[in-house]
């Protein structure tokens, strides 16, 4: 892998606590000295959060599709449930 991808892997190992204690210490020392690396770590952390948001959004769309499918089925239990809320 090229250098920048190895660095991304190293940041990931750091963020996911996958490093051995010695490597972890070295990385933390590097973080103190290397400000651009610190920025990259913060950005990569944001990237994982965005991937999580994206995953949730897609999952909610899948759940909504199931909801609509069940709702549009004639005489389904969903129709009976709606009547619970009609007063």
């Amino acid at each position: 892998m090229r250098t920048s991808l190895n660095e991304i892997k190293a940041i990931e190992d750091h963020l996911f606590n996958r490093n051995h204690p010695a490597d972890s210490l070295l990385f933390q020392a590097n973080l103190i000295l290397n400000i651009p690396l610190r920025d990259k770590v913060a950005l990569q952390n944001s990237t994982y959060q965005i991937v999580e948001q994206y995953g949730r959004k897609q999952l909610k769309a899948e759940i909504e599709a199931v909801h609509q499918k069940l709702l549009n089925k004639p005489n389904s239990f969903m129709q009976r449930l709606i009547s619970l809320f009609k007063k």
Binding site: I8, L43, I50, E62, I63
Partner: protein
């Protein structure tokens, strides 16, 4: 008892259909009893399913016959958190001071998500498969048609780099836009 994997689209559809049939009626009855609407019951239930899915994938809960009770527990918690602790209970100073900043942040975040969904969807799907659905490497290799697991791993890091660069560029851009 459910023992098959749930992290593919087809298996999720089966799982959510089953859970809807098993657990949505009791959640809906609970929300109706508490004076809520059908749409509120739906929102609460769907959020509970998201939490349930994430918990199962992180191995902090196993799929078993008590999943109905587990989902009802989450739903009740969400109901109380969302509709009992309503905005009226938030101190005025906190509500007023933080809201515009939060709205701006949300706006920038939505813009960024929209950008990634339209221009970087392939990478977002690859990253979702790795980090959100936690699919095994061999399955990801097959799903996206990579030549091998090494190639899939390299692609993961390339996508991380691409999305990270976009986050950096767009964050700066939206900050400028908001200021």
């Amino acid at each position: 008892m459910q023992s098959k994997p749930i992290n593919t689209k087809q298996s999720r559809e089966e799982l959510f259909t089953t859970l809807y049939q098993k657990a949505f009626p009791i959640v809906a009855k609970y929300v109706a009893k508490m004076g809520g609407s059908f749409d509120q019951a739906k929102d609460i239930f769907q959020d509970a399913l998201v939490i349930y899915y994430e918990k199962v994938l992180s191995n902090s809960v196993t799929l078993q016959s008590s999943d109905k009770a587990y989902i009802l527990g989450i739903a009740k918690h969400l109901w109380l958190k969302t509709y009992r602790d309503n905005a009226g209970n938030i101190p005025l100073d906190v509500a007023n001071v933080d809201q515009p900043q939060e709205e701006q942040h949300q706006y920038a975040s939505n813009k960024l998500m929209h950008y990634l969904e339209t221009t970087g969807q392939k990478c977002m799907e690859v990253l979702k498969a790795f980090y959100y659905d936690k699919l095994p490497l061999t399955q990801i290799t097959q799903l996206f048609g990579y030549s091998g697991t090494h190639s899939a791993t390299v692609q993961k890091y390339k996508c991380l780099e691409k999305v990270r660069d976009t986050v950096k560029q767009k964050s700066l851009h939206y900050e400028d836009f908001l200021e």
